[in-house]
């Protein structure tokens, strides 16, 4: 039984086929990169896995269970959390409250217990936002918003996290810290990671497997070093070789 199994998934928007029959599997405990040119269907694929959009065809199985038709909140409770490419923090709420929403989603309404306060503090400390605990999310800068989304996602105690471009817009120092954080998510929480990223150099340092999407199809997959040297991948990114 595969951990995450995506089978021949199709998603159309009117005449546009955003995802055209993608099939892959992910093993538990891995950090897997998902790359591809703009418009390849990466974020759409995330939305299909997370249940934000319904699939037109195909099935998605998670830990042996069919989650193809599941609603987002249900997918989350099954153990898949996500961050958003364009960050979506709860702006009017503090960082503390943002994380609490994730805890409520997982545990239901338990009230503001000491155990919960401890968990929130721990998560905010883990991503480095402890100093901003009582700051409204609207006042955070981009990297802090991204970190908040990670803390919030981890609060739902996921088995799999979908990260959508966490490094975009960060400077070199911030990227290095983010990479440590992503490794720590897996090593400390035992969470499997599927990660969309355009910052290739950084991505290559962390991922153990790479999936390449192009025009809604899976172009190739496998060992990161081999994949980036694959002629098909180079062609997809740079156009056909002209010799």
């Amino acid at each position: 039984m595969a951990f995450l199994e995506v089978q021949d998934v199709v998603k159309r928007f009117g005449g546009l086929v955003a995802v055209a029959g993608v099939r892959f599997e992910i093993e538990e405990g891995r950090i897997v990169g998902l790359i591809g040119p703009n418009g390849a269907g990466k974020t759409t694929l995330f939305n299909l896995i997370a249940g934000t959009f319904p699939c037109d065809e195909g099935t998605i199985r998670f830990c042996g269970e069919d989650i193809t038709a599941s609603k987002p909140y249900h997918v989350c409770r099954k153990g898949i959390a996500r961050t958003f490419q364009i960050t979506r923090p709860f702006n009017d709420m503090t960082c503390y409250e943002n994380v609490v929403v994730g805890l409520i989603g997982r545990d239901g309404f338990t009230g503001d217990t000491a155990a919960r306060r401890h968990q929130v503090e721990e998560l905010l400390e883990f991503v480095g936002l402890k100093d901003f605990m009582h700051t409204e999310a609207r006042h955070l800068n981009l990297i802090h918003k991204k970190l908040l989304e990670i803390a919030r996602a981890l609060a739902t105690r996921p088995k799999l996290v979908l990260l959508d471009e966490v490094l975009g817009g960060l400077n070199t120092g911030e990227i290095l810290r983010a990479l440590d954080l992503i490794r720590a998510i897996r090593d400390r929480f035992g969470v499997t990671i599927l990660w969309i990223e355009h910052v290739m150099g950084a991505l290559m340092q962390v991922v153990e497997k790479l999936l390449v999407l192009d025009r809604g199809r899976l172009l190739c997959e496998g060992d990161p070093a081999a994949v980036v040297n694959d002629p098909r991948v180079i062609e997809a990114y740079l156009g056909e070789a002209d010799d």
């Binding site: 997370a50 934000t52 609603k71 987002p72 909140y73 989350c76 409770r77 959390a81 996500r82 958003f84 979506r88 923090p89 709860f90 702006n91 009017d92 709420m93 409250e97 609490v100 929403v101 994730g102 409520i104 989603g105 997982r106 239901g108 309404f109 338990t110 009230g111 503001d112 919030r152 996602a153 609060a155 739902t156």
Partner: protein
């Protein structure tokens, strides 16, 4: 103003509110009671619109349902008004659930329009129905208490208002309140964190509808006459203006707005038709210079003082 005075405020407020019926004349006591009704209405509408972002126009309709159910139960089954109010609340809650289920998956303007249509339909039915609800003539119902006393009615409404406000405060501070605000801020993000958005929005609908039902029932029995006026859009927009002018999404805002607008409308009544005009101008000025409402103005001032 020194900060150490602030704790004395609630005490003064309680003393003032308790002394009010003995100091005020009949007319202002009546205005005070109306204020309490509007505080309940505006605060409970704020729970729905200000905390979950569902701008429903059916709030006055829920109050009307509470009033008519309670009134009819008193007439036909001789149910004491206070028990009738409970029945009115229950029916309003049920209706809130049904209307909620109907339009909960619609967002924004569609929800507003559906609730508006529902509210108008209900009003037109009651307007034109004579046998049962006595149409525009209105329904004569017994007073809220066994003995007629405006002062007693004031205290009863006061207790009900306090109960509603405490309930709202408790809900806003609870996990449900956190879920409300998460859903209002970003439904997609809330759902991605395991929040059942539909259930949360439905809960807001039912809770606020129940509170409006209570307010309406008490209001009807206080007036001893229930007319379709209670579920008119006039009343709905009055409640909306109170909440927005006071400060939507804040606890104190709707209270301040309700008291401010109710007293204001009494003061400018002498201008006859012009009082509507004045009303519009005031709303306009507040929207222009205090878009966050009077509470927003106050908070800005407090920040300026403290920094």
């Amino acid at each position: 103003m020194p900060r150490r005075w602030i704790p004395a405020f609630p005490l003064l407020l309680v003393v003032g509110l308790c002394a009010f019926p003995f100091l005020a004349g009949e007319y202002w006591l009546h205005t005070g009671i109306l204020c309490l009704f509007y505080i309940m209405m505006a605060s409970s509408w704020n729970l729905l619109a200000g905390y979950t972002g569902q701008v429903s126009f059916a709030h006055a309709a829920f109050a009307g349902v509470g009033a008519y159910v309670s009134g009819l139960a008193a007439i036909h089954f001789h149910l004491p008004p206070l028990l009738g109010a409970l029945l009115g609340m229950a029916v309003a809650a049920l209706l809130g659930l049904l209307l909620g289920v109907l339009c909960i998956r619609m967002g924004g303007i569609y929800l507003s329009l559906t609730t508006l249509a529902f509210s108008e339909m209900l009003r037109i039915i009651i307007d034109n129905e004579y046998e049962f609800t006595r149409g525009t003539m209105g329904l004569s119902v017994p007073f809220i208490l066994p003995v007629y006393s405006k002062t007693a009615a004031y205290f009863l409404m006061g207790v009900a208002t306090l109960a509603v406000l405490f309930a709202i405060r408790a809900i806003v501070r609870s996990d449900l309140g956190t879920a409300f605000r998460a859903v209002q801020n970003d439904e997609t993000a809330a759902a991605s964190l395991g929040i059942h958005v539909v259930k949360v929005r439905l809960a807001a609908f039912v809770i606020s509808g129940t509170m409006a039902g209570l307010a309406g029932a008490l209001y009807g029995h206080y007036h001893q006459l229930i007319t379709p006026e209670i579920l008119s859009l006039n009343l709905m927009f009055f409640v909306l203006a109170m909440t927005v002018i006071g400060g939507m999404g804040t606890f104190v805002g709707p209270i301040v707005g309700a008291v401010f607008l109710e007293f204001l409308s009494e003061y400018i009544r002498i201008y006859g038709q012009f009082h509507v005009l004045l009303f519009g101008l005031i709303a306009l000025v507040v929207c222009r210079f205090a878009p966050q409402g009077l509470m927003g103005l106050w908070q800005r001032r407090m920040r300026a003082v403290s920094s």
